[in-house]
C-alpha cells in the first residue's frame, strides 16, 4: 500500500453525442486506482465501453466523445480541468500514453517509423536533436527486443505482429507514468499474441512505463498478466478485485458468468456450454434505470430494476455492483456448483 498512486480516477463519466443528437453514456461513473509498478486489467463484452473508457482516461476529448464529469489524477496532478492544448503538449505521450485497439493501422503509411518517433519526441521536447532521438529509439527498441532496422522502415514493410510491437515501443518512447493498452493483441495470431503480452509485461519491469491498464474481451488473457482486474458491463464497473479474486472467486453474477469460461474446463466440463450468458446488453442510448444487468440475471428480483445499484465496497480494494449480499451470492454459487457436480456424476 506504500506505492505512490500513478493514476487515480474518480467518478469519470463521458458520453458520445451522435449525429442525431442522441447521448450514448458509454462510461458511467468509473473510479479506479493504479499504483506504481502495477497493472490493471479491464474486461467485458464487445460494446460495453472498454475502448471508450481507454479514450476517456486520456483526459483529451474530441467529438463525438464528450466529457461530462469526474476527475483524472496522474501522479498527484489533476488533469480534468486543464486546457486541452496543455494536455496535448504536457500530458499525452509523456505522462499518459495509449496503444489503440487497431494498432495495425495506427501508423502513418507514408512515414518511416523513426520519422514518426522524431515527431512524437519533438512534440514534447522541441529542443532535442535528431541524433539524440535516434539514439533513444535504438536503445529502447534494443531493450524491448525489436531489431533496430525497423526504425528505417515504412509500416507496410512490417508484419502485423512487428507493427503492433513497434506501436507499443513508440507509445512508451517517453517513459509515461501510465500506459493504456486497448486490446493490443486481439487481432494477432497466437504466437504474435504471446510476444505482445510478454513485451507488455517487460515494459513494467524495465521501467518503460510506471503503470499499465490492459483492456481485453478475453478474460483468460488477464490472469497471469495483470495484478488487478475490473469487469465492465454496459458502461459501468460491476466488479473489482485482484486477478486471483476476479478469476477464481468472482462476486457479480455477470463476472461469474464470464469467468465460467476459465473455471469450467478445470472441472472437466468442456463440452457443456455454460459460458455464454443469454440475452444482449442494454442499449446505452437509453439504459435501464435500475441494475443494467437485471434483464439477463438469473437471480433477478423486483427491487433490482427500481433504483440504480451502487458499487458495493467489500474492503481490501474489492467491490461489486449488486443489491444481493456477498453471502447470498456465494450461497447461490456453491449450490450451483453442487448441482453441476451431481449432474456430472449422474451423467
Amino acid at each position: 500500500m506504500s506505492n505512490p498512486v500513478m493514476l487515480e480516477v474518480k467518478g469519470l463519466t463521458t458520453k458520445y453525442i451522435t449525429r442525431f443528437r442522441e447521448d450514448v453514456y458509454a462510461v458511467d461513473h468509473v473510479s479506479l486506482k493504479v499504483e506504481e509498478g502495477k497493472s490493471l486489467g479491464i474486461a467485458g463484452e464487445s460494446g460495453c465501453g472498454k475502448s471508450t473508457l481507454a479514450l476517456s482516461l486520456m483526459g483529451y476529448y474530441f467529438p463525438p466523445l464528450h466529457y461530462t464529469s469526474g476527475e483524472i489524477i496522474i501522479d498527484g496532478r489533476n488533469i480534468s480541468r486543464m486546457d486541452p492544448d496543455d494536455i496535448r503538449r504536457d500530458i499525452l505521450g509523456t505522462e499518459i500514453s495509449y496503444i489503440p485497439q487497431s494498432a495495425m493501422n495506427a501508423l502513418n503509411p507514408t512515414q518511416k517509423i523513426i520519422s514518426f518517433i522524431e515527431d512524437v519526441v519533438q512534440a514534447h521536447e522541441p529542443s532535442r536533436t535528431k541524433k539524440d532521438i535516434h539514439d533513444l529509439a535504438r536503445k529502447s527498441f534494443e531493450v524491448l527486443g525489436l531489431p533496430a532496422e525497423v526504425l528505417q522502415k515504412y509500416p507496410v514493410e512490417l508484419s502485423g505482429g512487428m507493427k503492433q510491437r513497434t506501436v507499443i515501443a513508440t507509445s512508451v518512447i517517453l517513459s509515461p507514468k501510465v500506459l493504456i493498452a486497448d486490446e493490443p493483441s486481439s487481432a494477432l495470431d497466437v504466437t504474435s499474441q504471446k510476444m505482445v503480452i510478454k513485451m507488455l509485461k517487460n515494459l513494467l519491469e524495465h521501467g518503460f512505463t510506471k503503470s499499465m491498464i490492459f483492456i481485453t474481451h478475453e478474460l483468460p488473457l488477464l490472469y497471469n498478466v495483470t495484478d488487478d482486474i475490473m469487469v465492465m458491463y454496459a458502461g459501468q464497473i460491476v466488479e473489482k478485485g485482484t486477478a486471483q479474486e476476479a478469476v477464481f472467486d468472482p462476486l457479480h453474477p455477470y463476472s461469474k458468468g464470464l469467468m465460467g469460461s476459465i473455471i469450467v474446463p478445470e472441472y472437466g466440463l468442456r463440452d457443456v456450454e455454460l459460458t455464454a450468458i443469454p440475452g444482449v446488453p442494454p442499449n446505452l442510448k437509453n439504459p435501464p434505470a435500475g441494475c443494467r444487468f437485471a434483464e439477463r440475471c438469473k437471480y433477478v428480483r423486483a427491487e433490482c430494476e427500481a433504483n440504480p445499484v451502487p458499487l458495493h465496497d467489500v474492503g481490501g480494494g474489492r467491490a461489486y455492483r449488486c443489491i444481493l449480499s456477498e453471502r447470498e451470492l456465494r450461497d447461490f454459487y456453491t449450490r450451483e456448483a453442487h448441482m453441476r457436480e451431481a449432474h456430472q456424476n449422474a451423467g
Binding site: M58, L92, G93, P100, Q111, V120, A123, Y154
Partner: protein, 334 residues
C-alpha cells in the same frame, strides 16, 4: 530491389508491346478513311484546267511524291524507316509544308495553353477539396455540388458558355484565334497583349472543369485520411494538429499525382475541344484540319505524339510512384 527490377522490366515490355500496336493503328486507321486526299489536292490545284492529261499528270506527280500509289505494306515500311529518321514527310493538305513544320508551329500553342491550365486546375482543385474535407460545414456544402456540376459539364458546353457570356455578351475577351488576325507574330507589346487576351477563355474553360474533378477526388481522399486510425493515435501521442494535417494531406495528395501526370499525358487530346471552339492555333485544331483534309501523314504524326505522351505519362507514373508512395512500393515488389 530485385523484385522492383523485375517489375520495371515487366512494365517496360508491356509498354513496348502497347507502343507497337498503337503505332500500327496510327498508320492504318487514317488510311482507311474514305476519300482520296491526292485527288482533293489536285482538284484544288487544277481548278479551271480543262486538259485531262494535264490533270492526270499532276495527279501522277503528287501520287509519286506522297507515295500513295505504292502498295500499303510498302508504304508502311517506308513510313517506319522515315519515322525512325525523324522524317514525317510532307503534309498533304498544306503542301509544301512538312509535317514537322506544321506540328512545330502548333505544339507551342497547345503546350502554352494546356500546361498552365492543367497545373493551375490541379492546384486550385486540390486545395479546395482539402479545405472542404477539413473545414466541413458550409464551405463543403457549397463547394461540393458546384464541383460536381462543373466537373460533369461536357467540355464544349463550358467553352460555349464562357464564350457566350464573356465573349459575345460582355465582349471582355475575343472569341477566336490565338492572337489578333491583323497582327504578325513578334515580340511587340501589342502582339503579347493580344495573345494574353485571346488566352483567357480557352484557358479558363479547361481550368474550371479540372478544378471540379480534382476537388471531388481530393475531398474524398482527405476525408478518408482524416478518419484514419493514425490520426487518432498521433493526437494521443501529443503531436500537434498542424503536423497531423500535414500527414493527412500528403497521403491524400499522393494518389492525385497520378491524375496530374495523366492529364499532362492526355494534354493534346484534352486540348481538342477548347482549341476547336476557340479556333486556337494549337495541335487540336491541327488535328481537326488534318482529319478534314485526309492528311494521312499529319494525322499519323499527331496521333503518334498523343500515343507517345500518354504512354510516357503512364510509364513514369507506374515506375516512379513507388518511390513517392511506400504503400505502392510494397505492392510493386510483391
Amino acid at each position: 530491389m530485385k523484385g522492383y527490377r523485375k517489375y520495371f522490366l515487366n512494365k517496360l515490355l508491356w509498354f513496348l508491346i502497347t507502343f507497337v500496336c498503337a503505332f500500327l493503328l496510327n498508320f492504318i486507321l487514317p488510311r482507311l478513311m474514305p476519300g482520296d486526299p491526292v485527288a482533293a489536292i489536285v482538284s484544288r490545284l487544277a481548278q479551271g484546267m480543262s486538259n485531262t492529261t494535264g490533270v492526270q499528270a499532276i495527279y501522277q506527280q503528287y501520287a509519286d511524291l506522297f507515295g500513295t500509289n505504292k502498295p500499303m505494306v510498302e508504304q508502311f515500311f517506308i513510313y517506319v524507316r522515315n519515322v525512325f529518321r525523324g522524317d514525317f514527310g510532307f503534309s498533304f493538305a498544306q503542301y509544301p509544308r512538312t509535317v514537322a513544320d506544321v506540328i512545330k508551329s502548333s505544339i507551342v500553342w497547345t503546350a502554352a495553353l494546356q500546361f498552365p491550365a492543367i497545373i493551375v486546375g490541379w492546384l486550385i482543385g486540390n486545395t479546395l477539396g482539402a479545405l472542404a474535407a477539413y473545414l466541413k460545414g458550409g464551405f463543403d456544402k457549397v463547394l461540393m455540388p458546384v464541383s460536381i456540376f462543373v466537373s460533369n459539364f461536357p467540355p464544349f458546353g463550358m467553352a460555349v458558355i464562357l464564350m457566350v457570356i464573356f465573349g459575345v455578351s460582355l465582349k471582355w475577351f475575343p472569341t477566336s484565334g490565338g492572337y489578333g488576325f491583323d497582327l504578325i507574330p513578334s515580340f511587340s507589346w501589342s502582339f503579347i497583349w493580344s495573345v494574353i487576351v485571346h488566352y483567357q477563355l480557352p484557358f479558363w474553360s479547361i481550368v474550371l472543369i479540372a478544378i471540379g474533378g480534382q476537388a471531388i477526388g481530393m475531398r474524398s481522399m482527405s476525408i478518408y485520411e482524416l478518419n484514419a486510425d493514425y490520426v487518432k493515435y498521433s493526437r494521443f501521442m501529443g503531436i500537434k494538429d498542424r503536423k497531423i494535417v500535414g500527414y493527412v494531406f500528403r497521403n491524400a495528395m499522393l494518389p492525385q499525382i497520378t491524375g496530374l501526370a495523366l492529364s499532362i499525358g492526355t494534354m493534346v487530346g484534352g486540348a481538342l475541344v477548347a482549341e476547336i471552339i476557340f479556333s486556337y492555333p494549337g495541335l487540336g485544331s491541327t488535328i481537326l484540319t488534318a482529319v478534314r483534309g485526309g492528311d494521312y501523314p499529319l494525322i499519323s504524326a499527331t496521333t503518334l505524339i498523343i500515343t507517345i505522351m500518354v504512354l510516357i505519362a503512364n510509364f513514369v507514373i507506374e515506375i516512379s510512384y513507388g518511390f513517392i508512395d511506400p504503400r505502392i512500393k510494397a505492392a510493386q515488389s510483391d
